[in-house]
Symmetry: C2
Subunit: 266 residues, 2 copies
């Protein structure tokens, strides 16, 4: 993947849940989490008691194009002050905590989060320290748990990856558009053009002796049309295929060189 | 997040599409891609012409618990040999290529991939070089394009993140189970127990003068029951709340100390 798809003239999207990093240890992970947020239109990071203080040079370097997320980030001395103004809090965790909370996958949780935010609530999602995650008292501060479907033999997601998955589900839910879809260079061919091509092709094939016996011809034609119809040809496709088969049929001529044949079809 | 949820006694899941890294540049990214695959039960990595040769020490160090993915990885000199035995190929890209291919998000693409693999096909997904992605000839080798819904002002996902998102959708589609769900410590309370608690509580509140006037009592009781019913109490919840309110009602006694009160409810 590459940054070539980025449009730097657009302002970053804002909104979404508060992404709350609880006592993150490494600046690189804070920076990567900021990048993951920016990829998916999340703008609000809160950081509880970052181990290496704030601002953090390693976080800024790693965040790169997502520096605006770090600039807006709010720092809190403890979890309670970081969630004080929130209406709902979700805790991400990779393991069971013996707490009678509802457990959601990121998809279902983000649907709820989106609906609450749409209803005017301020919602936060907690992400624990790299090494040990959230402790049980921190999980107890949340209304519900978010966990990720993973291979239990390899359940460890790093901090930025967990933020990335929540962000990905958020963008699908809140914005949902792909950066591009198929380029509509040419409209789908009308059936008339397709059948005209088929008829011509079948006649040429007949001329060249493609059909071994007259009684086999109808079935062979049906088979050929089946194959070509699977292409769902555009107008341009029909022209390209007709040009290519036409030139094959003609074969090389004394006045034709290779580059002219190619040019004819591009 | 933390590795504490990992069960090292389980064998890693295998199967899924071939994850094909085309000319990856940094060993760290190959290692992180292997980790992302292992998180989501993908076992088969193919690498086309890795810039720094193979094996790659940085990849092994970064892969950590996903070393088995690197050990199984197959190395190819060019893309054609890497896809030669595949029935279907998808190309991931962040930008439009002017090619008339269908474009899917990871969710829709992985549904197709899963269905093809279930039908016995061997399917590959191409991921391009870190800096420049796949070139147009490489994209042309694919049946369809996978792209990710991202904020267009921050469209750059790194290699391992793109693999992570495909893996995440694969696991949801192919395995789908969360590592844990809510712990069922106590069954949901029967309505009889809930109403018995309400009746007792309302009587005690009446005794203490909670209801200012008899005509207001029914509405206040309904309101109180509304609030408490929202808890969807378990049997244990009813016992805990009844114990706590009961002790509040009694107040401190000369023979009771704080630790006994707490013990009574745990």
């Amino acid at each position: 993947m590459t940054g070539a798809g980025t449009n730097h003239s657009l302002a970053p999207l804002t909104g979404g849940p508060q992404i709350i990093l609880v006592e993150p240890q490494m600046g690189e992970n804070i920076g990567m989490a900021a990048r993951a947020m920016a990829n998916f239109g999340l703008s609000d990071m809160r950081i509880v008691n970052p181990r290496d203080g704030w601002p953090n040079e390693r976080a800024i370097v790693t965040a790169a194009n997502a520096a605006h997320v770090l600039e807006r980030a709010k720092i809190y001395p403890d979890l309670l002050s970081a969630v004080a103004d929130l209406n709902a809090v979700y805790a991400t965790t990779a393991r069971e905590r013996g707490q009678m909370k509802q457990v959601f996958d990121a998809d279902a949780a983000v649907q709820q989060v989106h609906s609450r935010i749409h209803g005017g609530e301020n919602v936060g999602i907690l992400f624990g320290r790299e090494r040990t995650g959230l402790n049980n008292d921190e999980v107890a501060m949340a209304d519900a748990i978010i966990t990720f479907p993973v291979d239990p033999s390899n359940a460890s997601l790093n901090l930025a990856q967990a933020v990335l998955l929540v962000g990905y589900e958020w963008f699908k839910q809140a914005h949902g558009t792909l950066p591009f879809t198929v380029e509509e260079r040419s409209p789908p061919a009308k059936r008339e053009a397709v059948v005209s091509f088929f008829t011509w092709l079948e006649q040429e094939l007949d001329t060249c002796g493609f059909f071994p016996a007259p009684e086999k011809k109808p079935a062979m034609i049906r088979n050929l049309r089946d194959i070509l119809l699977r292409l769902s040809m555009t107008e341009q496709d029909v022209k390209t295929l007709r040009g290519a088969t036409s030139i094959l049929r003609r074969g090389p001529t004394s006045t034709t060189n290779k580059s002219e044949i190619l040019t004819d079809n591009n």
